[in-house]
């Protein structure tokens, strides 16, 4: 096995472009969407108590069906949406159900006394959430949200089911036609690393900022 630097460099632009246009886009927009929706699910469930049962079923249903099935279902049901949009929506919604569970665990870790103090001060619900509960709950939730975002990152090759070529698929195609898998996947791996490492540092900073 030989290493061909020139070849490695030559595939770099194509891989990077696939990475940025698909993998990064889907992961970033999808994660933000999942984080926002997940929070909505968690707060709704907590606020509605037992009346949130139907929502719970829907979330369980989404969580327990595979992503390829959801991709194909949404893609063929809403055929006016572009494949990339479908990808972002499905990943965002799918992972929001996982993130909702993480938020829920974080919210449940807040001692009852905090809610009671908020009631005793007559803080309105939105203020109780924003000023008291969430700042404390997010501290416990953030690492796990980061993990779900990474899981989403790693699930992006599923996009091939609806014909979207993200970086790993492109790398496989290049490897298949040139038989130079080593260079291709080394570059692909380095691109992943270059993206995840700064993200990890960013998450750590965010966690530190939330510490008190």
């Amino acid at each position: 096995m030989t290493w061909d630097t020139e070849f490695a460099l030559s595939v770099f632009p194509e891989l990077l472009s696939a990475f940025v246009r698909v993998t990064l886009l889907v992961t970033v927009v999808g994660s933000l969407m999942a984080a926002a929706l997940g929070l909505v699910w968690a707060i709704t469930q907590r606020s509605l108590g037992r009346r949130s049962l139907p929502l719970r079923w829907v979330l369980d249903f989404i969580r327990m069906t595979p992503i390829p099935v959801q991709l194909l279902f949404v893609y063929y049901t809403f055929n006016n949406l572009s494949a990339l949009t479908v990808g972002i929506l499905v990943f965002g919604i799918h992972y929001s159900t996982y993130m909702a569970e993480s938020y829920r665990a974080g919210i449940e870790s807040i001692r009852k006394g905090q809610w009671e103090a908020a009631t005793a001060l007559s803080l309105p619900p939105h203020r109780t959430w924003r000023a008291v509960i969430l700042p404390q709950a997010l501290r416990a939730t953030l690492p796990s949200l980061g993990n779900w975002a990474i899981a989403m990152f790693k699930d992006t090759p599923f996009l091939i089911f609806i014909g979207v070529l993200e970086m790993v698929t492109v790398a496989r195609q290049i490897g298949g036609s040139t038989f130079r898998y080593t260079e291709t996947f080394t570059i692909a791996g380095l691109i992943f690393l270059a993206a995840s490492y700064p993200t990890a540092i960013l998450m750590r900073r965010l966690e530190k900022r939330l510490a008190y």
């Binding site: 009671e116 103090a117 309105p124 000023a131 404390q136 008190y212």
Partner: protein, 251 residues
């Protein structure tokens, strides 16, 4: 004035309060004593709307708190109305329950700013003045975790006072403190009792404090008021054998 009318509180099959009736006059300091499970803490929690009232009514200055009689029917009041009445009441908890994500000052100004709508600067000045009263002005920017239990409890008292309540509920406020820190907290409360006319409902095991501060002591047993008297009489010559035994056990 606080008025409990036919108040019943059940937790599942357990009846904690059974048809309770009593009134607390404005400015009065009432200490509630009794064995654990006798319902005294539940009374404070019902007033603070931390528990649902099973039956009956609670009135604050004639205004219904959580339930009212409308066309002969007992109906729950809207959360917004409850909140308005509840603002006259403040509470200090056994476990302090300060918000650990906020500084001391933020803990105290949060509700005045976001519930009463006070301008920030005014809320800040008021908070610092109250902190001065509880002897913690220099710790305004500290975080609760950096304070001792006694200091945290004094901040919690300041937080309740910043809402300028007419009624202050004190739920075993020294029970979670190391013995040597109890004195400072009680001193602050004595000072408040001396310099304000805030109505106080006190659940405590500190009998000397109860004697010094309160006008009236209610002895609870099994969800009923077994007897009530002025502190001197209650602590020296209780009427009931049950009360005598209880006082002997805790003194």
């Amino acid at each position: 004035m606080i008025h409990f009318q036919d108040v019943v509180k059940r937790f599942g099959d357990t009846t904690v309060l059974d048809g309770l009736d009593f009134t607390v006059a404005p400015g009065e300091r009432v200490t509630l004593i009794g064995p654990s499970g006798s319902g005294k803490t539940t009374i404070l929690r019902l007033l603070m709307t931390l528990e649902d009232l099973t039956e009956g009514f609670i009135y604050v200055d004639g205004e219904p708190l959580t339930h009212e009689l409308r066309d002969g029917k007992r109906v729950a009041r809207r959360p917004r109305d409850v909140s308005k009445t509840r603002r006259r009441i403040g509470m200090v908890f056994q476990q302090f329950n300060l918000f650990p994500n906020m500084s001391v000052l933020e803990n105290i100004t949060e509700a005045p700013i976001h519930v009463l709508g006070k301008p920030k600067q005014e809320a800040r000045e008021d908070a610092l003045r109250i902190l001065e009263q509880v002897g913690l002005r220099e710790r305004a920017n500290a975080h609760p975790m950096q304070l001792s239990g006694g200091q945290q409890q004094r901040v919690a008292i300041a937080r309740a006072l910043a809402m300028h309540p007419e009624i202050l509920l004190l739920d075993e406020v020294t029970s979670a403190l190391d013995p040597e820190l109890v004195g400072d907290v009680l001193e602050v409360l004595r000072e408040i009792a001396r310099t304000t006319n805030i109505t106080m409902l006190i659940v405590t095991h500190e009998m000397q404090f109860a004697r010094d501060v309160s006008n009236r002591v209610l002895m609870f047993d099994s969800g009923r008021i077994l007897e009530e008297a002025e502190p001197d009489k209650m602590f020296s010559h209780p009427e009931h054998e049950r009360t005598r035994r209880f006082l002997q056990a805790i003194l």
